[in-house]
């Protein structure tokens, strides 16, 4: 199945990534000669690159799995899924960001950085070598620091700082972990590691596994390296928050999946348990912390932490069951669609920070509310949305992998998550402003809070929200089609 190949003949296998890179470089060059108000050209170019990359990725899925560049780059189902989801996600997110960055002097650079970050995310997923993982980590991190602070206001730069420092810390941990694994095996390629690691010293392995997973978990926003998620999400602009909580996570979860499935599969350590604990902690902490949030962005941020918990369930059983692969493919796509939708709802009314603000601003737009309801209930896992199908697959896989207790934990967590989503849904649906919430946190009182002000609802985020709602349902109903396309079935 997996054919090893190196040298020049492997280049076609990197076509989707090449297209992304081409889009980035081309976009930057185009931007150099583009007037400030006409940077939508770059947006079009970037979108085209993304769509082309996704198409190329989809076409590539029909080919058999292969490892290229001496095994450092794996082209298989997981890579394919991430390629398509990330590329399409960026194509959408570019337009989600458009209203807030249009005409900005750095608009071109923002789009290019988004593409580069996407490339990093794909590289994370496709990496078949620890060093490539580190490189991909860099590529998936650096552009995002800039994106978080693209507004360059106080909150944005604080977000950038925290993101950067946490990222640097996690990167260092990742390198320590890689070093430990190199010490244990002398090599960095996944297949070689899978062969060498089982005989190595458990202490060294524990350090290595933990370090590597910490780095990946940082990108995924999982406990205990999740601290950046709420702060960065709340500090940056909503479209960028959508980007930061969606794109890198996809690659990171795929990377974790690959790690657990390949090099960490035969270890004398209970890696699945470690991942299961990470999953439990993430979903529980995310849900609990979101429980009484009044800031919509922070609420969504914590919700993404909990979503990563569900995603990590399937990572935990990556090596144990055949059901894991399809489950990952389903949940990743579902998460991307739904999460982008939820953030789009916030991006539609960027000045609204609290639930009350949001309801005041958008409550009259019934269809907007309707789509938001679909997305939020989708995040809960209400059928027939995509996340439901994903959750079903994930639960089934986790149980089949011997982690029935994790399924119960996840089910309980799902109920808990219902609380805070409904705290947003109910007043929005009822169409009346909720009672003023006392003791608003200091975050909500920032410069961008304008409680109760009526404001325009932005068009393109609204359209994206509707599309996400429809997409969430369609993906749920058409799960079989998606699995067929992604070749995961």
């Amino acid at each position: 199945m997996t054919s090893m190949s190196g040298g020049t003949e492997a280049w076609p296998a990197l076509l989707p990534e090449g297209l992304l890179l081409l889009g980035a470089v081309g976009g930057l060059l185009l931007g150099l000669w583009t007037p400030q108000q006409a940077q939508w050209r770059v947006r079009l170019l970037v979108t085209a690159a993304c769509l082309a990359s996704a198409t190329a990725g989809a076409v590539a899925m029909s080919r058999p799995d292969e490892r290229v560049f001496e095994g450092t780059w794996v082209v298989d189902t997981t890579t394919g899924v991430v390629r398509i989801v990330v590329a399409l996600g960026v194509a959408v997110l570019v337009w989600l960001a458009a209203p807030s960055v249009a005409g900005h002097p750095r608009e071109t650079e923002a789009y290019v950085l988004m593409l580069l970050g996407a490339l990093g995310s794909v590289a994370l997923a496709a990496g078949g070598d620890l060093l490539l993982l580190v490189a991909a980590y860099l590529l998936a991190s650096v552009p995002l620091y800039a994106l978080a602070g693209v507004a360059k206001d106080a909150a944005g730069t604080e977000a950038t700082m925290k993101y950067y420092l946490m990222g640097a810390f996690a990167g260092v941990l990742l390198l320590v972990g890689v070093a430990a694994l190199v010490l244990a095996s002398g090599t960095t390629g996944y297949p070689e590691l899978a062969a060498a690691l089982p005989d190595a010293s458990p202490a060294l392995l524990a350090l290595g596994v933990l370090g590597v997973l910490a780095g990946v978990a940082f990108k995924a926003g999982a406990v205990p390296v999740h601290f950046w998620v709420p702060d960065v999400t709340a500090g940056t602009t909503p479209p960028m928050a959508a980007y930061l909580t969606t794109i890198p996570k996809i690659g990171a979860v795929a990377a974790a999946f690959r790690l657990v499935a390949e090099p960490f599969a035969g270890l004398p350590l209970d890696v699945p348990l470690l991942v299961a604990v990470l999953a439990t902690a993430s979903m529980t902490l995310g849900n609990l912390a979101a429980f009484s949030q009044t800031d919509v962005l922070r609420l969504l941020a914590y919700s993404t932490v909990s979503q990563v918990g569900y995603l990590f369930m399937v990572v935990a059983v990556a090596a144990r069951t055949d059901l894991a692969g399809p489950a990952l493919a389903l949940y990743l796509a579902a998460y991307a669609v739904t999460n982008i939708g939820a953030f789009a709802a916030v991006a539609a009314t960027p000045a609204a920070r609290t639930i009350t603000d949001w309801v005041t601003a958008a409550g009259r737009h019934r269809r907007l509310v309707g789509s938001l309801v679909v997305c939020l209930l989708g995040l809960v896992g209400t059928p027939p949305t995509a996340v439901f199908v994903g959750k079903l697959a994930v639960f089934t896989a986790a149980w089949d992998g011997g982690l029935a207790w994790l399924v119960v934990v996840a089910a309980v967590n799902t109920v808990a998550s219902l609380f805070y989503y409904l705290r947003w849904v109910a007043p929005a649906f009822a169409g009346v402003p909720v009672a003023p919430v006392p003791a608003e946190g200091p975050v909500g009182s920032g410069a961008r809070t304008s409680a109760g002000t009526r404001q325009e609802v932005r068009r393109s985020p609204e359209a994206i929200l509707h599309a996400a709602a429809v997409g969430s349902v369609l993906l749920g109903v058409g799960a079989g089609v998606w699995l067929g396309v992604s070749g995961a079935s």
């Binding site: 700082m161 990167g171 190199v182 002398g186």
Partner: protein, 105 residues
């Protein structure tokens, strides 16, 4: 003295660097000083990578490449660190991590 003991000595030095680096990263208030702490940890990684190549797997280039990659990571993070520091200094005239705590909860 066996190679193993030498390896262990070298690695202990690396561990010392990592420990000191962690201490620095956790205890410093200035962004740049935090970065220094992290650099120090990476310094330990450099040492460990070199030791891994020399004592364990000299036949394979992987450990060497690891050192290169670690160096690049250092450079990149340093560059980003400076950029971030400039950005936050311009936005709110602070260079201390404790002074930017609007985002919490």
């Amino acid at each position: 003295m066996t190679a193993e003991v030498v390896l262990q000595i070298v690695l202990t030095v690396a561990a010392g660097l990592i420990g000191v680096g962690l201490f620095g990263a956790l205890s410093q208030q200035s962004i740049v000083m935090v970065m220094m702490g992290l650099e120090l940890v990476l310094n330990g990684v450099l040492l460990a990578g070199g030791a891994a190549w020399y004592f364990l797997a000299p036949e394979l280039p992987d450990a060497q490449v690891l050192v290169v990659v670690a160096l690049v990571v250092m450079a990149v993070e340093m560059a980003m660190g400076f950029a971030v520091t400039v950005a936050i200094y311009r936005a709110r005239q602070v260079d201390m991590v404790d002074m930017a705590t609007d985002l919490r909860g």
